[in-house]
């Protein structure tokens, strides 16, 4: 609570519109709610690099041409894309987590929190989507470009690092931005395993005060704003990286 005067004014003005933000004036609920926003932002900030790095690794496996690398990743990608994230999250939290607990001797020793599982599952889920986008981009790199790189003595890994990924990244950027918007939306599944992100915090408030509509307006605006920022940054990067005359 930075300024009681401004908050008070806001509560009064919105009250006239029939919206109830009275909880902002109380310390406890306002704090839970603000923490919810921060947790969601933190999740997003953490998940974007995690998903991008894992997605690059998956894409490298998919295009490696070695069956023992590509087949498991392909299976993972297909299962991830075609089953609900919530089910994956519940499965990993209830099953994998209890395996880990058994391994370290009791749940009290388990270092893995619900927060970790949300980052792991949502991160891997979006990574699978990134991998597909990057793979499509790599396959769209002209064969003559790759051959030219091979001709001047690049190894397979060097071709991937210096030729294919830079070009593929440009081609797959729109799809990646789309996936990142999905990522922002997916952070809400953390609610299912009691990670106190914004929807979970809001439930805490509206079960006490019955002001669902007021909170929903803020949540929808919040997500619209984040996704607008993500889309704008994506567009900016796209323009920055554009190769003139290359059509990408």
């Amino acid at each position: 609570m930075w300024n009681n005067g401004i908050t008070g004014l806001f509560v009064e003005l919105t009250n006239r519109l029939g919206l109830n933000y009275e909880f902002l004036a109380t310390g406890y609920e306002a704090e839970i709610w603000r923490d919810g926003f921060i947790t969601t932002l933190y999740l997003i900030a953490l998940l974007i690099p995690v998903s991008l790095i894992a997605g690059l690794l998956f894409a490298a496996c998919l295009t490696s041409g070695r069956l023992w690398l590509s087949a498991p990743v392909r299976a993972f990608v297909e299962i991830t894309r075609n089953t609900p994230t919530l089910v994956q999250l519940m499965f990993s939290f209830l099953v994998l987590n209890s395996f880990v607990s058994n391994l370290v001797g009791g749940a009290q020793n388990n270092p893995l929190t619900p927060f970790f599982w949300v980052v792991a599952m949502v991160g891997l889920h979006i990574a699978a989507l990134h991998a597909e986008a990057i793979r499509a981009g790599i396959e769209a790199v002209p064969a003559s470009t790759v051959e030219a790189a091979r001709g001047i003595g690049f190894s397979k890994l060097q071709i991937l690092r210096y030729v294919e990924i830079p070009l593929a990244f440009r081609a797959s950027l729109p799809a990646i931005v789309n996936n990142l918007i999905n990522l922002v939306k997916l952070t809400t599944v953390g609610n299912a395993i009691a990670v106190s992100e914004i929807t979970y915090a809001s439930i805490m408030v509206w079960t006490q005060r019955d002001n669902v509509v007021s909170l929903m307006i803020v949540i929808l605006l919040f997500f619209s704003l984040i996704n607008l920022v993500v889309a704008r940054v994506g567009l900016w990067v796209e323009r920055k990286l554009a190769v003139p005359g290359y059509g990408l």
Partner: protein, 263 residues
């Protein structure tokens, strides 16, 4: 030269995919045969899980139907030359395309009353119906964007030709533009269908009796770790068998239409 080299792994990839398609059901079957007590438990609970899955299918199909009807209308309205019509629709599409499905399901569940009064009769307004509306809202926003994109992708010369033949604007839309849009918007529409189908599992968080909810019920009743694992694998397999064929068909249609437009 490279195309020949590429076609080989693709073939084995196709085979792999088909093996992968049967892998989850095969795993369930093998495991329940290996441990017969587990198999018996699973057979006992299968009807309960199936009733949950039926709810997923019902929610998904109703949400998609509602979303398609509303979305198509909104997509056309987005291109209207009148600003007072266009702007609210554009705002609706932007807001709900970017909103998490879970938040919309929460919104409809908690904001709508649990019963509605129609001519003095109290009609129940069940949670699953609220979940349908909660999923139909994002579906309609996506469909509106697809419709808008598809209409814009039709060359303007077609509009002019229709005008030249004496068609009015709405007649041109109905008889010339929309039939062509149908073909182009089918693959993205099916993508949405798959994502809405997977989104139905979110309804479990507001207490709708669907597959994930049923699996949680079953695993709390049986209290066996291996049953919990296999119950969730059944859930995954069920969604996979529903969504994977849609995804495959979408990809095939996309390739088909791409090949057609390239000529």
């Amino acid at each position: 030269m490279t195309t020949v080299a590429l076609s080989e792994p693709r073939k084995s990839g196709h085979l792999l995919r088909n093996i992968g398609f049967a892998a989850l059901p095969a795993l369930i079957l093998l495991w329940s045969l290996a441990d017969l007590t587990l198999g018996r438990e699973l057979v006992e609970w299968l009807p309960y899980l199936a009733s949950g899955f039926l709810m997923n299918v019902v929610i998904s199909l109703s949400a998609m139907t509602l979303g398609t009807v509303v979305g198509t209308i909104f997509g056309i309205l987005q291109l209207m030359p009148y600003r007072p019509v266009r702007y609210p629709v554009v705002a609706y599409v932007q807001a709900f395309r970017n909103a998490p499905h879970l938040v919309l399901i929460f919104a409809t569940t908690y904001i709508f009353p649990f019963e509605i009064v129609v001519f003095g009769n109290y009609l129940p307004f069940p949670d699953w119906l609220k979940a349908v509306i909660g999923l139909a809202i994002p579906a309609s926003a996506y469909v509106a964007e697809i419709t808008r994109g598809a209409i814009l992708s039709i060359p303007t010369t077609q509009w002019e030709a229709a005008k030249g033949l004496g068609f009015s604007r709405s007649q041109a839309l109905r008889w010339i533009i929309l039939p062509q849009c149908l073909r182009r918007s089918l693959p993205p529409w099916m993508n949405i269908l798959a994502s809405i189908t997977m989104g139905t599992s979110l309804a479990s968080l507001v207490g709708v009796h669907e597959l994930l909810h049923a699996a949680t019920d079953a695993s709390t009743a049986v209290r066996r770790l291996d049953f919990t694992i296999i119950a969730y694998i059944v859930v995954m397999a069920a969604f996979f068998t529903l969504c994977y064929p849609i995804a495959r068909l979408t990809r095939r249609l996309e390739q088909h239409f791409n090949a057609g437009s390239r000529i």
